[in-house]
Assembly symmetry: C2
Homo-oligomer: 244 residues x 2
């Protein structure tokens, strides 16, 4: 029996946004590994072992998945969104360091609809011109790095998508980010808060930076800040194709 490891993106929440490629991989899996709420999205069936684990143990989870693949299992590591965007793929590759045995395994990454794309689609097309994507969680980097990136992004006139904008344990980071953005982009710049995108709880709110409050975001929110040309038309927000 030859094992394999697939790192699969489940998309932002809706079943209709799971790619057929991922559905096929899940149907062939012997073992599914991932953070509890993502594993909960996989239907149980005979012959499939589910391995839900807590958050913040990504490297342990990756190693456990690789051990199972090395033992001959067909393992699928599930992430929400896209596994290559602030998710499990990097953790699996980190776990491969120094392990030539694991590097020789059949390992594939299956892309998914990452949250910012679904959020942008729900709002209109705010990422329709050059943009950047920043993880505002400071678990893995100092605030100074985040602030430097925000300032460069503003001066490059990128639209910006923010993941993990605000957690209960460090709510002040997002407030500081809004202060930097107001200073760099002005109070009239549009900002969209997209919560629980593609789920029944979806809520999309667009305001100006002058109106934005830190409390408008939580950990289920993706935040999109427009570039200098981003505008409203009807109920939509979009960034024109030209630099403006």
């Amino acid at each position: 029996m030859t094992g394999s490891l697939v790192i699969a993106g489940l998309g932002p929440g809706a079943e209709a946004l799971v790619t057929p490629e991922v559905t096929t991989a899940l149907a062939a899996a012997t073992d599914v590994v991932g953070y509890i709420p993502y594993v909960a999205r996989v239907a149980p069936r005979p012959g499939l072992m589910l391995h839900p684990s807590d958050n913040r143990v990504e490297l342990d989870r990756a190693r456990a998945a690789l051990e199972m693949a090395a033992a001959g299992k067909r393992v699928v590591v599930v992430s929400s969104g896209d596994p290559g965007v602030f998710a499990m793929a990097s953790a699996v590759f980190e776990a491969l360091e120094g392990r030539e045995d694991w590097q020789a395994l059949d390992i594939r990454v299956l892309p998914g609809i990452t949250a910012m794309l679904a959020a942008a689609a729900a709002a209109g097309a705010p990422l329709g011109h050059d943009f950047c994507c920043i993880n505002l969680s400071d678990n893995l980097k100092p605030w100074e790095v985040i602030e430097t990136r925000l300032r460069h992004a503003a001066r490059a006139d990128f639209a910006m998508a923010f993941y993990n904008p605000r957690s209960a344990s460090r709510p002040e980071g997002f407030a500081k980010a809004l202060d930097v953005l107001r200073a760099e982009c002005g109070a009239d710049r549009l900002i969209t808060f997209a919560r629980a995108v593609s789920t029944p709880d979806q809520r999309i709110v667009t305001v100006t930076l002058g109106e934005a409050l830190p409390e408008m975001a939580d950990m289920r929110t993706v935040v999109i800040v427009g570039n200098s040309a981003t505008r409203r038309v009807g109920r939509f927000v979009y960034s024109p194709r030209s630099a403006g």
Copy 2:
């Protein structure tokens, strides 16, 4: 009969990367509008009118689609990848400007797997940390804007994904971009050329900026430049989750 307009992303090429949401919308359509090669990906059937059009007529195409929706048709505008990333969604919203009648229509954007996500998955996880996404085509913006964005992106230590890196009509732009990147990031920085991602022609090549040649990219190529921490492990390229 109530018309509707759906702007749908077909993903980078493989059928297995088309979301069920998009498949459902196409099955319900009366009319499909888009650039010739994308409309060619939609299977003909009785009751479905296909409207392929040439490239660089995005705004005309958007207006024609809105006219049909206003006349009661169920219109799907197709883009490759994600319609909100350098594709048709922004053109449709531009066409809504000043047209309150069209703004009142049932208009939805359905996200898709954009090329950089499929390219990153095929290479490993080079977009696993903060990144930016730049359209290198200078059809819609001056070179100076592109150069400024490249320099800010490098100084922010973003990984970078480039769309439309090189066309026959303006091949010098990508050569200039490589020069800027070598000056800002050094010769050892990793760069991945991902051509025809998810199709039978897929080809993924990773080299250093010192080894990169403009000819390695064409208009079917997505280019991904790593950040300062991006590294190889086995046959993969990835950006670690921490700032390094």
